[in-house]
């Protein structure tokens, strides 16, 4: 019997694997011919990254050497591009005139890297990352040293950048999105990956759009971004995705979508022609990873060797990054969504982040960083759709723990632990040391155990284990203690620990805090995000970038939201002083924008109520033009400084209370605080400015200035307490700024000054502000912070900052439905 002729276009991973699978099933069925455009045998394209990094040689990644082709009597036309498929004659023709007739044809033409059509894209030194030629070009460039830019922070781009950094280049990755590998990673894992890459000499620029490639003498010299930044480089790698190579198929009339369209048997619209790998589109998906390709090859081989009932049903994907020492795993719906539940585990000490997404008791996806040992297990659970409800408690700790504890209740599991097993990783305390201390020293509380063994005294993540040990050792005598109230349900840490560790560990972003303090949710909630944002602003003035999306609407929009979704606008009136000109402008604005209500506030200024959100920038522009700025009537920060008319007018006035109020407000405006801060200055003890129910109040007397703190006149009514008395106006300003700074640094988010005072004690505050050195240090920190705060947020937005916030997404719906 004559053999059937099988022709394969593509000598890559898919084409050769398909041939191997066919040979495995029936070595004698086909006479096989393979065309490949690269002038070499088949190699493992995935391992090009380690070749680039110098961790492997080309010989290590060859999949099928020349002997393999010979042994199986395969005709290989290497370096020979097929230019035409004649489906009528069942013949393929190559550029060099080679022809081959087929009974069955396999298209395995793979994909081409996408080249961005940027100006300068044709300069020498601009490459993609697809084949060995690209790697050789990159290695040659790296030998000359210098700087490399990689456009694209996906899997391939990061591996390219890492490889180039390993070869001694300074590599910078430019990524359009805010998260590296955003198709595989959530923000928390992306943050850890970014830090790990920085440690390995790869810089990353996120949210950056490329504008043009710059060159000198026909050679690349840098990349210009849309925002004007220029990053110099002598090598530029584009790794922005792949495009299935479908030209051949389209030219011969096969059905082509994004890829060559195939059915579940990998058959194209011509039953004699099949397509597999990256060039194929199956059920609307063109895959770019290797696992689905192997599955396609198995199905195709079954079809070609006459196995009935075989079908490829699509693939569930998993991804791993090949950067030495950086373990990343991602699979399935890692970012959760409708009806999903997250289980999160973080180990700050080991740099581990794990997130497993459950849906109806089944694993729907996972993202792992730093410890990916259980990636395969989660992936299997996901593929098999096994019910894991019963494993819920231990799932996140991995397969070994889960299986060891299966059917065991957590208390007996703790009882069963060996005495030598470590409980507290931070302080290296074993189970035996804790149980011995409990028994010998008669410890009964968590605090006792912390004091005597240091277990659970640092990061606190072993607290549940220590409590179970107490319960097991003491039996019924143990009653669980309540520690400091956690910030919210996303963490077991209280505000104090969070604030202290942000400063002591130099944590400078929300993801950094969440990782270091082992937050138990992927990205926090509406309670903790604003708190962390404030703590970071306070700890790192001028350094931390405010996260607008972590602010309540009022602080994001710089106006106060009302019950009907409109806003109120309150311009600042310094110390409650205004002028005919300001009042005229306010009246004009109210008329021009048909503002329905104008009201005098309790803080001595004017409130424009009922402003539509879209009108806010225009309202502010008019107010700004008359010299007025935001009154921050919406801020967790300095609100008003109320004054009386003092010695300027009042026959009883003892000091210039208005002048002091204006001076304080002009210096302190724009400062953020844990909660709102209201000040007042009264010119004499008759106290017309009602200073003794404010957060900080000044009562002027003949001999100087009494400074009072801790008043409240809202939900809670309380008079102030006298903190201190100073002789001069300068000292009054220094002292008030020092108190404010102390509160800014120590207060818990949303804790007003009176509550903070009750918590820390008036004496503690007094000791700080009456010590001249401490007062000066506090004042200096406040003054430094104010260098970045006294900017009018209204003027910034009139100038176009965050313009999207105030415009509807689109007016198309209005047009279409008008």
């Amino acid at each position: 019997m004559t053999k059937q002729r099988l022709v394969v276009i593509g000598n890559g991973m898919a084409g050769c694997r398909a041939v191997e699978e066919v040979l495995k099933r029936d070595p004698d069925l086909y006479e096989i011919t393979i065309f490949g455009t690269e002038p070499r045998v088949n190699y493992d394209r995935i391992m090009l990254s380690p070749v680039l990094a110098g961790e492997k040689a080309f010989a290590d990644i060859v999949l099928n050497d020349e002997a393999w082709y010979g042994d199986h009597a395969i005709t290989l036309h290497a370096g020979c591009a097929v230019t035409e498929i004649d489906r009528q004659a069942r013949l393929v023709r190559a550029s060099d005139g080679t022809q081959a007739a087929y009974d069955r044809l396999i298209l395995a033409t793979g994909s081409d890297p996408v080249r961005l059509p940027l100006p300068g894209a044709d300069l020498a030194g601009v490459v993609t990352f697809r084949d060995l030629d690209d790697v050789e070009a990159m290695v040659a460039a790296a030998d000359a040293g210098g700087e490399a830019v990689v456009i694209g922070g996906g899997l391939l781009g990061l591996e390219a950048a890492y490889g180039l950094a390993r070869r001694g280049m300074r590599a910078t990755v430019i990524h359009l999105m805010d998260v590296l590998m955003e198709r595989q990673l959530d923000e928390s894992a992306g943050f850890l990956l970014r830090s790990a890459l920085t440690d390995r000499g790869v810089e990353t620029v996120l949210g950056a759009q490329s504008e043009a490639i710059l060159g000198e003498n026909g050679k690349v010299s840098g990349l210009q971004l849309k925002d004007g930044r220029i990053i110099p480089c002598s090598l530029l790698v584009m790794a922005v995705g792949i495009r299935p190579n479908t030209a051949l198929a389209a030219n011969c009339g096969l059905k082509v979508g994004r890829g060559v369209v195939v059915d579940d048997q990998m058959r194209t619209s011509d039953p004699a022609v099949f397509a597999i790998g990256e060039c194929a589109e199956h059920r609307g998906i063109a895959y770019g990873l290797v696992a689905p390709i192997w599955e396609m090859c198995r199905t195709l081989a079954d079809v070609l060797t006459g196995v009935d009932d075989c079908a490829y049903g699509g693939s569930v994907l998993q991804t791993r990054l090949k950067v030495s020492g950086v373990d990343v795993f991602s699979a399935g719906r890692f970012s959760g969504g409708e009806g999903c539940e997250d289980v999160v585990f973080r180990d700050a000490g080991r740099g581990v982040y794990k997130r497993v997404v459950l849906e109806q008791g089944r694993v729907a996806g996972a993202v792992l960083f730093g410890d990916v040992a259980d990636g395969g297990w989660y992936f299997d659970l996901m593929k098999s759709q096994a019910d894991v409800s019963e494993l819920r408690e231990t799932l996140i700790f991995g397969q070994a723990v889960t299986e060891a504890l299966r059917g065991v209740d957590p208390k007996s599991a703790v009882a069963a632990m060996a005495d030598s097993q470590e409980i507290c990783g931070c302080n290296g305390v074993c189970k035996g040391a804790i149980t011995t201390a409990i028994a010998d020293l008669g410890l009964t509380t968590l605090e006792d155990v912390r004091a005597h063994t240091k277990a659970s005294a640092s990061c606190g993540s072993c607290t549940p284990l220590v409590e179970k040990l107490l319960a097991v050792t003491l039996g019924d005598a143990f009653q669980a203690q309540t520690g400091p109230k956690p910030v919210c349900g996303c963490t077991h840490h209280g505000h104090e620990v969070v604030r202290r560790r942000i400063v002591s560990e130099g944590l400078k972003s929300i993801p950094a805090v969440m990782q270091a303090l082992e937050w138990t949710t992927p990205e926090g909630c509406a309670s903790c995000r604003p708190a962390l944002n404030y703590y970071l602003i306070c700890a790192w003035p001028g350094d931390y970038q405010d996260d607008k999306q972590s602010r309540f609407v009022n602080e994001r929009v710089h106006a106060n939201i009302q019950k009907d979704g409109t806003y109120s606008v309150v311009p600042r009136m310094w110390g409650g002083m205004t002028s005919p000109q300001e009042l005229r402008v306010i009246a004009d604005v109210a008329d021009k924008f048909a503002i329905p209500a104008v009201k005098v506030t309790g803080g001595q200024r004017i409130d424009l109520l009922g402003v539509k959100k879209d009108d806010l920038p225009a309202v502010w522009a008019d107010l700004n033009a008359a010299g007025m700025v935001s009154g921050h009537a919406y801020a967790k920060g300095l609100r008003t400084v109320k004054t009386c008319v003092g010695t300027d007018w009042c026959r009883f006035g003892t000091q210039d209370s208005t002048g002091l109020g204006v001076r304080l407000e002009k210096f302190m405006w724009g400062s953020w605080a844990p909660a709102k801060v209201k000040l007042a200055v009264s010119g004499c003890p008759r106290n017309c400015a009602e200073a003794t129910c404010k957060d900080i109040g000044v009562v002027c007397v003949d001999s100087g200035f009494e400074i009072h703190i801790g008043g409240a006149a809202g939900l809670h009514i309380q008079g102030t307490q006298l903190l201190t008395k100073v002789a001069s106006e300068d000292e009054a300003v220094w002292t008030i700024c020092a108190i404010t700074q102390l509160y800014r640094e120590e207060g818990w988010y949303l804790e007003r000054i009176y509550k903070w005072m009750a918590r820390v004690g008036l004496e503690t505050i007094r000791a700080q502000v009456e010590d001249p050195h401490a007062r000066k240090a506090l004042y200096d920190r406040f003054a430094y912070s104010q260098r970045f705060s006294r900017t009018d947020p209204w003027a910034e937005r009139v100038a176009g900052r965050h313009a999207d916030e105030f415009n509807p997404l689109s007016r198309r719906l209005e047009f279409e439905r008008a």
Partner: protein, 115 residues
């Protein structure tokens, strides 16, 4: 998603690019039945709801987005972005209607009833 779900009862209207919505934020849109809020989560998923909290009608588009939920700016009710249902202690106490939304090639399409 490569093709829009075909349903003669629904007209799909291109309202902008997914990246026009800030991450962990929202944008508003005037619809025939009232304001629509389109949200984008930290993970880049997009959702559309009528922009009115089931509690007191607060503009959900102005709330803080966390995970696949938003907290209403008026009284702090937490709403599931995928279903519009109230969450936590308010579970079962009403729902913000979901607006059909599809993403194709990075563009957002809002589905309106009728043609």
């Amino acid at each position: 998603m490569n093709a829009l779900v075909k349903d003669p009862q629904i007209t799909w209207i291109d309202v902008g690019a997914a990246t026009d919505i800030p991450r962990r934020g929202a944008r508003r849109l005037k619809g025939p039945q009232g304001e629509i809020a389109i949200f984008r989560t930290g993970d880049g998923q997009v959702f559309a709801l009528m922009d009115a909290c089931p509690h007191k009608g607060g503009p959900l588009s102005q709330g803080i987005v966390h995970g696949a939920s938003v907290t209403c700016p008026l009284h702090g009710r937490v709403i599931d972005l995928a279903t519009g249902e109230s969450l936590g202690a308010d579970a079962g106490k009403g729902c913000a209607p979901v607006v059909p939304l599809q993403v194709r090639d990075g563009r957002l399409f809002i589905g309106l009833a009728g043609s």
